[in-house]
Each structure stands twice: as structure tokens, then as C-alpha cells.
């Protein structure tokens, strides 16, 4: 969905982010904006630092330098809990579901911020605890229906195939009703059919709920069709930033990622 250019307002501003592990640079001087309501794709070769970038945005990694501004609030280091409470949802490259729980329970955990009942209220199954459980269940059922997960509601997630696990993970992120979704390779390892489904979900969430989406994706077809804005990373640096068309015609990007033309 192309947002009109005049209404572009950044929801997320990354300013001069630097990240290294034990002296090895993972991200060097990266700055870019993500605009409200857009789908932003981050592309680049494996190991370019894309996942680390998402981890910086929602506070799993703490950058040595730089700042993150989300909805006008600036942080030099984000904490995962803060990110979640401000409305940043996330899925992971190597699926991070709670393996010992069912699909339903996994998605229910996504709604934890809506649960105010204390543990003793839940222990005694008191009014508030019960009401919250039922209210969450209602919301979660909507997500289950949207993602077509009805039949595996009570199946332990560890026994689901890869594609479905990815979908459950998206469901868990959606359950928190995030303002911004960070999706780390949501379509990796999927069949064409599953990829179509997944891009449908992403676009529908984006269009109907107005959720901003940042996704890492390798399939250029998906990137070109789905995204409004593309950021290209290579070797921990940003080498391209713009509309899909601009990026595709950028010589640096072609050299580094799409391959040296021969």
C-alpha cells in the first residue's frame, strides 16, 4: 500500500546505530526512518546484520552508539519490555515459540499486557481473572480465525510443521495489538502457497489495522510487490534506502546483493 508522500510521518527513527560483539562489528552507522502505516522491507545478504538490526529496535541487543526514537520518544537503549509496552511486536527468524505450549496458549501469551489479575486472583479464579481470560480468548479466537489456525488450536506447537509455526508466531505478535510489527524472515522456507498466505496476512494487517510493518525478506518478488519502502544492508552498513524501484536501480545494491551484472 503506497502511502501518499505528504502524509509521511516517521514512527521509528534510527539514528547512527553501532553494534559490536566482543569487538566484532555487526552494525556500522545505520540510520533510517520507518514511516507510519508503511511496509518497510529490510533486505541484504545473510549475515549482513538485518536480524541484529531488529534486535536493536526492540531492545534484545544494546547498541554501543546511536539512538532509537519510537513515536517521538527517544531511547539510547531500548528494553524489550518497554518496546513491547509501546506497541512493538516481533517474530523471529528461528521461530521462538514456547515449545511446551499449545497454539492457543502461545497466542494467549501475546495478550499478557491486557491481563491485570494478580496470581492469587487467578489461583482463586476470581471475577477479574475469569473475565480477562474470556475477553482474551475472544480476541485470540479472532486471530485464530484470521490466520486459519482453528484446527490446531490445542496442538502443541512443537509438533507443527515449520510454516504453521511461523503463522502461530505471527498470531502471538498480533495478539498484543502492536502499532509496529517486526517480522524476521516471515516467509523463509515456505512453499509458494504459504508465501501467498503470509503476504496476504501481512498486507491485511497493514491495511485494515494500520499496523506499520518492518520485515526482513529474501524473496525479491515479495519485496517488490509488498513493500512501500526498502532498506538494503550489506556487511553491517546501509547501502540503499528508498522505494523498491529506486533501490532496484541503485548500482551499489546491484553490486553487493543482486549480484555483479556480467
Amino acid at each position: 500500500m503506497n502511502t501518499s508522500t505528504d502524509s509521511k510521518k516517521p514512527i521509528l527513527v534510527l539514528d547512527n546505530i553501532n553494534l559490536s560483539f566482543k569487538g566484532v562489528k555487526a552494525i556500522t552507522d545505520i540510520s533510517f526512518n520507518v514511516y507510519e502505516g508503511e511496509i518497510c522491507a529490510v533486505i541484504g545478504p545473510n549475515g549482513a546484520g538485518k536480524s541484529s538490526m531488529l534486535n536493536v529496535i526492540n531492545g534484545v541487543y544494546i547498541p554501543q552508539e546511536g539512538s532509537i526514537t519510537f513515536e517521538g520518544r527517544q531511547f539510547s537503549k531500548m528494553k524489550p519490555g518497554t518496546a513491547a509496552s509501546m506497541g512493538i511486536g516481533r517474530t523471529f527468524q528461528n521461530i521462538a515459540l514456547f515449545a511446551g505450549m499449545s497454539t492457543l496458549d502461545n497466542i494467549m501469551t501475546g495478550r499478557n499486557s491486557f491481563h491485570k489479575a494478580t496470581f492469587w486472583e487467578t489461583a482463586l479464579n476470581m471475577g477479574r481473572a475469569r473475565r480477562e481470560e474470556l475477553a482474551s480468548r475472544e480476541e485470540v479466537e479472532k486471530i485464530i480465525e484470521f490466520l486459519g489456525l482453528q484446527s490446531i488450536r490445542k496442538t502443541p506447537v512443537s509438533s507443527l510443521p515449520y510454516g504453521l509455526q511461523k503463522r502461530v508466531e505471527l498470531g502471538r505478535a498480533l495478539a498484543a495489538q502492536p502499532k509496529m510489527l517486526l517480522l524476521d524472515e516471515p516467509m523463509a522456507g515456505m512453499t509458494m502457497e504459504e508465501k501467498l498466505d503470509m503476504s496476504c496476512y501481512i498486507q491485511e494487517v497493514n491495511a485494515n489495522l494500520g499496523t506499520t510493518v518492518v520485515l526482513i525478506e529474501h524473496d525479491m518478488g515479495v519485496v517488490m510487490d509488498v513493500s512501500d519502502h526498502v532498506v538494503v544492508m550489506d556487511y553491517g552498513k546501509k547501502i540503499g534506502d528508498g522505494t523498491p524501484e529506486e533501490v532496484m536501480n541503485n548500482q551499489d545494491v546491484i553490486d553487493a546483493y543482486l549480484g555483479v551484472s556480467h
Binding site: 545478504p45 549482513a48 484446527s151 498466505d197 496476504c200 525479491m220 510487490d225 550489506d234 549480484g259 555483479v260
Partner: protein, 269 residues
């Protein structure tokens, strides 16, 4: 043994993880002696699984080849252990390099030679030989492997494999996370090892351009199936390969119109 027995022949294999999750459904690949064959595909398409099926490392991850067969020099490898495979001359260089971080570069290389029970003089010779092929790591021999840069680690991993004197190297994603000039350098070394030392290679890559530049034959693997096979030249000129791996939007499927289509479709699961 007749000369046209391929060094590696994968025949229609299927792979299951934990007895349920199917990762490969029907992959057939052949590598002739002295060839560089590249295996192209996206993340999660099944390249690594294919390599691990050959090196028998699958079992360590609760995976198994449930159908089909793999032959190395005409011998079925079904009953062989990872140890047997290395002993027989097939070494995998793992994706993500997997250097022993707390061992020095030289110790890393030495671990590769254990399989041969060689005497120290010949090990020393081999070390020198590996250093001559991988100039960059010679000065770093006393450094800890974990502190080397990505490119150096890739070279240590390949050098470590060479210490086993292999006939076939399964090279999994050598370009991952490396700068373009380094990727070029790594592939140049592959070329030398192939041409001068006669090592055959099965290289799994996402970077189609570089892989096809150095390979003779290419296979394209998608969602656990081989969808295309051809000489490197054919493949790099093919439109569909260009589309999928070298950028450019496809017209066949449009991901942006998909939502209406989905809504009318009954749920698959």
C-alpha cells in the same frame, strides 16, 4: 571402477526431521569427479539439509533420510557415520563456519588432520600446504579462532577441511556475511583447490551470480525440491533464474493482489 561413476550421486531422497517434519521431498543431484557443482536456493529451501544428508550429520539433529539413496563413489552410504564419511574423503564445511572459537587457528587446522592418524612430519607438511593456499590465515596461526574476522574464519574452516585430504568438499554458504571482494577471494581458492588439487565441490549458495560463475553445473532447489538443473551458462541466462535470484519482479504471481484471492479460498489447514 569405471571413470564415469560420479563421485556423489544423490537419488531422489526424502528427509524427515524428528520423524514428522519433511524437509526434502525428492532431491537428486550428481557430482562428477573433479567438478564444482552449485546448489542454489533461498533460505530454508533445503540446501543445508541436502549437504547434511551427505555428510551424515543429519542424525545429530534428529533428521533421517527416509527414502531414496546416496552413493559416494558408487557405494551406498546409508550405514556410515559422520566419522566414516570424513575417513572416506567427504568433508562438510558448515554454514556459519563453525570455527572452534577457543582453539587457535593452527589447532583448528590440526583437528582436521586427526582422522588420518598421520605422523607429525606429514601433518606439518599439510599445514604448510594449507597456509600456502590460504595466505591470509598464516599470520594469524597463533590467534584464537573466535577472534578472527568472518573471511578468515571461512578460510580456517576450509583449511580445516583440507587437512583431512578430502576428495569431495560440501561447502555450505561460503559467502554468508562476507564482503564482495572476500567472496570473490574465497571462490578463487575453491577454483585453485579444484583445479590443482582435484577436489570436487558441492557448493550451496544463495548468491547465484558468484556461484554460477565458478561452477560447472547448477541445481536450483526450492521448498525441498530440485526445480531446475543445468549448466552454469544455461542457468545464468535463464529468465526464471534471473527473476528469482537476481532481482526483478515476477509477473506470474503477484504478492500484492493476493488478499482477495485468499479470502475466497477455504482454509488449507
Amino acid at each position: 571402477m569405471s571413470t564415469d561413476t560420479p563421485i556423489l550421486s544423490i537419488k531422489n531422497i526424502e528427509v524427515l526431521y524428528s520423524r514428522v517434519i519433511s524437509a526434502l521431498h525428492g532431491v537428486s543431484i550428481e557430482v562428477q569427479k573433479g567438478e564444482v557443482v552449485s546448489l542454489l536456493g533461498a533460505n530454508g529451501a533445503g540446501k543445508t539439509t541436502t549437504c547434511k544428508a551427505v555428510s551424515r550429520l543429519l542424525e545429530a539433529e534428529r533428521g533421517e533420510v527416509s527414502k531414496g539413496s546416496i552413493e559416494y563413489n558408487g557405494v551406498d552410504i546409508k550405514t556410515m557415520s559422520p566419522y566414516d564419511m570424513v575417513k572416506a574423503g567427504v568433508v562438510q564445511v558448515l554454514e556459519g563456519r563453525h570455527i572452534f572459537g577457543h582453539l587457535t587457528v593452527e589447532e583448528n587446522l590440526l583437528t582436521g588432520s586427526f582422522i588420518r592418524n598421520a605422523d607429525s612430519a606429514s601433518v606439518k607438511r599439510d599445514l604448510e600446504y594449507v597456509y600456502s593456499r590460504f595466505n591470509r590465515i598464516k599470520d594469524r596461526r597463533k590467534n584464537l579462532g573466535g577472534l578472527c574476522s568472518g573471511g578468515e574464519q571461512q578460510m580456517v574452516a576450509m583449511g580445516r577441511a583440507m587437512m583431512a585430504k578430502p576428495n569431495l568438499i560440501l561447502l555450505d554458504e561460503p559467502s554468508m556475511g562476507l564482503a564482495p571482494q572476500l567472496i570473490e577471494e574465497i571462490f578463487e581458492i575453491v577454483k585453485t583447490l579444484n583445479e590443482e588439487d582435484g577436489v570436487s565441490f558441492l557448493v550451496s549458495e544463495q548468491n547465484a551470480n558468484i556461484a554460477l560463475k565458478y561452477a560447472k553445473i547448477g541445481y536450483i532447489i526450492e521448498n525441498g525440491r530440485v526445480v531446475l538443473k543445468g549448466s552454469a551458462k544455461e542457468l545464468s541466462e535463464s529468465d526464471s533464474v534471473k527473476e528469482m535470484y537476481m532481482g526483478g519482479g515476477g509477473d506470474e504471481v503477484s504478492f500484492s493482489d493476493v488478499k482477495y484471492y485468499h479470502r475466497r479460498r477455504p482454509c488449507m489447514v
